[in-house]
Amino acid sequence: MATIVAEATGQAILHEEHEQSFLRKYIFSTDHKVIAIQFLIYTLFFLMIGGLLAMLMRYQIAWPARGELPLGGIFPETMVASGYILPEFYNALVTMHGSVMVFLAIMPMLVGVWANYLIPLQLGTHDMAFPRLNMLSFWAMVPAGILTLASFFVLGGAAGAGWTLYAPLSARPDLTGVGLGQVLWLVALVFIGLSSILGSVNYITTTINMRAPGMTWMRMPLTIWSLFITAILALLAMPVLSAAGIMLIFDQTIGTSFFLPEGGGQPLLWQHLFWFFGHPEVYILILPAMGFTSEILSVGSRKPVFGYTAMVLALVSIAFLGFIVWGHHMFQSGMNPTLGLAFTVSTLFIAVPSAIKTFNWMGTMWRGNLQLHSAMLFAIGFVAMFAIGGLSGVFMASTPVDIYIHDTYFIVAHIHYVLFGGSLFALFGAIYFWYPKMFGRLMNETMGKIHFWLTFILFNVVFFPMHGVGMVGMMRRIYDSTGYAHLQGIEDTNALITWAAFGLFASGFLFAFNFFWSLKKGKKAGANPWNATTLEWQTPSPPKHGNWEEIPVVYHGPHEYSHPDVEDKDWLAQNERPDVVSPAAGSH
């Protein structure tokens, strides 16, 4: 049945191909590849915006009394006055850096870009199950982005209650000074939720129904596994956030009291709802990155993924455990301490599948023939940095230790090792790796390697010392730490972090330059520049509308590298029959 659906959709699309106007082809496109590229441009833009907000924040942290910020006229006087970032603007920076990075940059870049691009290509089908819903899932992100940017310029400025939006602060404009900005961000969040839910329905349906003949579940590339599980997480978690967000809008604007104690509400309810979404969200932000890493490590090591089945089981168990650990964000929240016990146990146990994955990635590299190109370097960087983020998580999972480090920079260090050292490293790797498929040309390797080393070194100079600053006891989201006796003596570290952060931000422009330069000047890629086995590499780069002349047939698992019976080359594509390439291999 799967085949019939795939062929029917395919014919419809191929038939349409001749009649498409520019607008239908590039702007309001239903082609999953064009939508993926739209998402890519969108998310790279917001990655830059999020980075810019972080730079302003770092400036304030390092030199709280200096002023001299040449932002003349960009922001209203109520936000930046004569070169000084005001506390209201700092709170907006803290809030919107986190919000933009999580919801407008990393999450849509992991899922919107790569689920769209890779699911049909790696599964061997013509397009998504619901191409129009897919288009809508991108276009729902557009108002979200516009509202977010606009919120900086309304009276009271952008949202300032933290990306976690803890009520009552987020619900009471009289207590923050932020009115419309907070509402605009919540409306944006509802659009983001819509986009994510529509996308997820599509990814799940496509993966279940539209796999090429022979593409059994256990022959799917790990990218697809991770994106499929992520879509299930998003489908279950995003509606909770959307509903909670709408309740919060009501508290702000029409006088309800879901989260306000004076009207009978409960502030902790917000935290439970937010983290019931928020913790699966953390895994939404890391599982796809794990998928890309597995894929790139296998190709770059010229070896099958070590322990494929274990990798799939680890993904599934992380996803399951991810739904029962949300309370670990709330150990010091006033929640009953006995509940903390249960959440400690579930949280610590999520370390086990994470460890399994790390060891299997190392197993994949073991006795390989490592091709250390930019994509591979970022994938290896992912494993190295994710390990640090995972290990630092053990500290806060242990509730007694969390009493001290909760809400300090130790947490900031941890989240960035996972989200930047983890997710973003894998995303850079994914872009270097699949760029030739998207655009038909390779990104420049020299620039790529310089970009990797700058990112790797500066990332660690920025975020490793934050563990130390957190141990000293520096609280998160502090506009000026110099007034506290226990925080004397960390000024030098904070200045060092800020300088390195400026360098890290600047290195992003080398990447951006490489990205646009290579569109025209990059080396022609051909169909399969990495000698990779998965289906997307067995069609021209970039693939035509509809992806395949003829739907491929899959004969074996996704990572057949260096098979001893295959001579002349060290890989065997998923649609190549082993007994045709090499008669001896037929016996396997």
Binding site: L175, M362, N369, Y404, G473, I478
Partner: protein, 223 residues
Amino acid sequence: MDWALPPNYSTFGVVIDQLFWIILVITGIAFLLVEGGILWFCIKYRGREGARAHYTHGSNKVEIIWTVIPAIIIAILGVYSAAVWQDIKGASNRPADALEFLVVGKQFEWNITYPGMDRTLGTGDDFTVLNQFHFPVNEDITILLESEDVIHSFFIPELRVKQDAVPGMTIPVWFDATQTGNFEIACAELCGLGHYYMMASVTVHSAADFDAWQASRATATAQ
């Protein structure tokens, strides 16, 4: 640059710090194994012309080994953490005859209500002082933590105490300082524009000094 935990002055802090160092050693060893392994593989197996990778899909034996070993370490750590947590926070371990204070956070100050000379809250000799928290050393202290407006977090780094103050809730927090000294309460939860200066001074007195201080305050308030 001094990246260290501040000196600890509370009874609970001893076990918290101990657990911190235990975890640091365990994760430190894991860190060295993983990062060292990655580096070693990158050098040893770096691609060479004509070389061919070793073909394997993995091994169930090693999967079991590297599942079971972390699971055991994690289980021990979890049980031990849970026991320490229960000792510190468990409702049954709340000290029965502690000296009680009422601490109310509001944007952007800490109001501390003292029990007065009769050592009991809610009686006529209670008095409230803004942003000054005095209490005696070597005695069980319980604060009843409240908030008037938004969520704040009561944090005294040197005593290893942190607890969110939530509007609509009264949350008991207890601790026992082991040395006299001067510290600060910091707010650890973003609470608005003045979050960064929401601090109060903490003075840990000897028992006699505390009584003297309370007596002087009580007369000052009464006048």
